[in-house]
Amino acid sequence: MKFLRSSALTLAVGYIGLGLAALALFAAPLWYAWRVTIQEGRNEILQSDALRLTEVFRREGAQGLISYVNTRVGMQIAGERLLLVADAALNPLAGNLTAWPASVPANPGTYIVKVELDSRRTDVRRVTDVALVHAILPGGYHLIVGRDTERYLPLERRFWYALAGAVAILSVLGTFGGILIRRALMARIHGIGQTISAIIQGDLSQRLPTHHSGDELNTLSRTINGMLDQIEQLIDGIRNVSNSIAHDLRTPLAELRSRLEVLALTKPAAEHTFAEIDAAVADVDGVIRIFNALLRLAEIDTGLRRSGFVPVDLAAIAAAAVEFYQPAAELRGTALSLEIRGPAPIRGDPVLLAQALGNLIDNALKYTPGDGTITVAVRRAGDSSVEIVVADSGPGIPDAEKSKAVERFYRGDASRCTPGVGLGLSLVDAVARLHGSELILEDNHPGLRARMVMTQDTRQITRVARATSEEGELQHEPVYP
C-alpha cells in the first residue's frame, strides 16, 4: 500500500510509539505514588478506628467494648471492616470473624496477612489479603481492626482506566495528526514533483514554489532553484557558444575554401601557389587556435582543474607576465609598469592565472595607443584577499558593453579592426570564476580597469615567510620594492 510506505506515516507512527513509551515511563512513578497514598490512607483509617475502640475499652471496660463491637457488627455499620475482640487465650469474644486468624503475628502492629473469610453472601470461605491493625489491650485482650484489600481494587482499576484513556487519546490524536502532517507534506512534495516533471520535460524556466519561512523543505527548494538557475545559465551559454562557434568558424573556413578554390581554378605559377598554400595553412592555424581556446574554456568551466590547485604567488606571476610582455610594449612605445608590494599568496592554477594575466595585458596592449600607459598591480585588499588590476589608457569599453565584453565571441565595435576572436576576456572571466572571483571591468578615466579579487592563502604566508628567512632570498622570486 502506498499509504503504508509514506514517510509521513512512518513519522506519525514513530511519534505515537514515542508518546506511548513516554506515557508508560511517566505512569510508573505515578502508579507507585498512587499505591503508597492508598496504603497510607488505609492504614491511617484502620489505626484511628483501632484507637477509637481502645478508647471505648478504656472508658467502659471489656464488656463495654464487646457490646460496642457487637452493636457495630449487628448494625452493620462495620461495613467492610473486619473487627475482632479476643481474650488473652485468643478466644473470640465479639466481632465478625469466627476464629482468631492464625496468620496474625503475636506482636501488636499493622500488617497485611492472609486471612480466611466467610463470604456472607455466598457462604463460600475464601482466603484473602487483609490489612489489619493488631492491638493488645490492658488485661491481655486482643483487638483486630482490618479491611479486605480487595475492597481497594476498584480504586486501582480507576488508575488503569485513566491510563488507558490517556493512551487512547494519544493514539487517536497521533494518528489524526500523522494523517494531517502527511497530507500537508504530500501536497508540497507533490508540487515539487510536478515542477520537476515539467523541468524534465524540457521547460527549464520552471522553479519550485518557495515562501518566506525558513523550514527545511523551503530551504531545499531554494537550493534546488539555485541549481536550476546555474543549469539554465550553463545551457544558455552552451547554446550561445554553439551558435557563435558555427558563426565564427564559418568565416575563416569560407576564406580558406575560396582561397583553395581559386588556386584550383587559376593554377597559378608554382611560387604563387606556395604562397597561397602558406596562407591557407595560416587560415587553418587560426581555426585550430579558436578550437584550442574553446577547449581550454570548456576545461576550465567544468571546474576539473580545481583539483590541480597549488599555493602560488600572484605577485610573482604578475612580475613574470609583465617581464614577458615588456619588449612588446617597448616596441609600441607603451609604458608597461608593475606595482607589487610583497608576495600575494593564493591557492590556484599557475598556468591558468598566467594565461589570464597574459590575456589582460595582451588586450591592453592591443587597444592602448602607442604612447599610452598600462599598469599591472597586485595588492592585498583587506585581510584575506588579493586584488589584481590591469589598467590602461586606451579607449575603454562603453558601460553598455561592459557586461557583454566577457561573453564568448563578443567583439565590441572598437575591436572590429583588431585581430582576435573574442575569447580573451571570456577566458579571464572563466579563470577568475574557477578561483572564486570574477572579472570586473571599470572605467579608468580614460581607459579600462580590469579587476579581480581573489582569496588570500593565509597558510602560505607563514610558509613563504619561513622559507624567506631560512634561505635568505628565494630564487627566481621578483625583487619587491
Binding site: 587556435r289 613574470a320 612588446a328 598566467a354 580573451g424
Partner: protein
C-alpha cells in the same frame, strides 16, 4: 635518426613518414599496439612517436609503461588528440618525454624530436656553450661574441642558453614558451618574436654573420652553417 612511428591514422602516418624521410631520417611504422610494442621492444630506435588511442587492446600509454618497466629508455614523444592538461600529465607520468597534441605542424614535431634525441645523448653536463664565435659560460653567466662581451638580461640569457643547447636545430615558438618562460598556453600575439628580435639586436646586430635565423613556418635556429 631512426624513428619508430606508432600511429593508426594513414594520412598522419604518410605525412610524418614522408616528412622524416625528406629531413634525412629513417622511419619505421606500426599501425597497431601489438606491432608497435614488438618493434619498440626489439629494434634500437633513437626516438619513438606514439599515438595514444590505437586499435586492438593495447593503447599507447600501456606500451610506454611496459617499455619503461622493461628498462627501455628510448625517448618517447606522445602524439595525441587528447589535449587536456590532465591528459598531458598522465602521458608524461606514464613515461613519455614530450607531448604534442593533434593537429600539429610537422616543423613542430621535427624540432621536438631533434630536441629529444639531443637530450638523450646527455649534453647537459656542459658548462660552456659555443656556436661559431658566440660563447656562453653557464657558470659565470658571461656571454661573449668574438672579443666583445655582451650584457644580457636574465631572461635573455635563458633564451640564448636554450637556443645554444639546441644549436643547428629548429626551435619552435611553443618550445621556447614552454622551456624559457614555462608558459603552457598560446599567448595569441607575437611576443616571442619580439623577444627574439631583441636578442638578435644584442648578439647579431653589430656582426657580419648572423647566427640567429628565422625558419619560415616553423620557428628559429641558432646556427653557424649557411643553408
Amino acid at each position: 635518426m631512426k624513428v619508430l612511428l606508432v600511429e593508426d591514422n594513414e594520412r598522419v602516418t604518410q605525412f610524418v613518414v614522408k616528412g622524416l624521410q625528406e629531413a634525412g631520417h629513417t622511419a619505421d611504422h606500426a599501425a597497431n599496439g601489438r606491432d608497435g610494442m614488438f618493434l619498440a621492444a626489439s629494434e634500437p630506435y633513437d626516438v619513438i612517436v606514439m599515438d595514444r588511442m590505437l586499435p586492438g587492446d593495447i593503447d599507447g600509454l600501456a606500451i610506454i609503461e611496459a617499455l619503461r618497466k622493461s628498462g627501455k629508455r628510448t625517448p618517447i614523444l606522445i602524439l595525441s588528440a587528447l589535449s587536456d592538461v590532465d591528459e598531458r600529465i598522465r602521458g608524461l607520468r606514464a613515461g613519455g618525454d614530450d607531448y604534442l597534441t593533434k593537429p600539429f605542424a610537422f616543423g613542430e614535431l621535427l624540432a621536438r624530436l631533434d630536441a629529444l634525441t639531443r637530450r638523450a645523448q646527455g649534453e647537459s653536463a656542459q658548462t660552456k656553450l659555443e656556436v661559431a664565435d658566440l660563447r656562453v659560460d653557464l657558470l659565470t653567466r658571461k656571454v661573449t661574441r668574438g672579443s666583445r662581451s655582451l650584457t644580457l638580461q636574465p631572461r635573455e640569457f635563458k633564451l640564448l642558453e636554450y637556443l645554444m643547447r639546441h644549436a643547428d636545430q629548429v626551435v619552435t615558438r611553443t618550445m621556447l614558451l614552454e622551456n624559457v618562460w614555462d608558459y603552457h598556453f598560446d599567448p595569441q600575439t607575437n611576443v616571442v618574436d619580439v623577444h627574439i628580435s631583441k636578442l638578435r639586436q644584442k648578439i647579431d646586430a653589430d656582426f657580419e654573420r648572423p647566427l640567429l635565423r628565422t625558419v619560415r613556418n616553423a620557428g628559429y635556429t641558432l646556427t653557424s652553417h649557411d643553408r
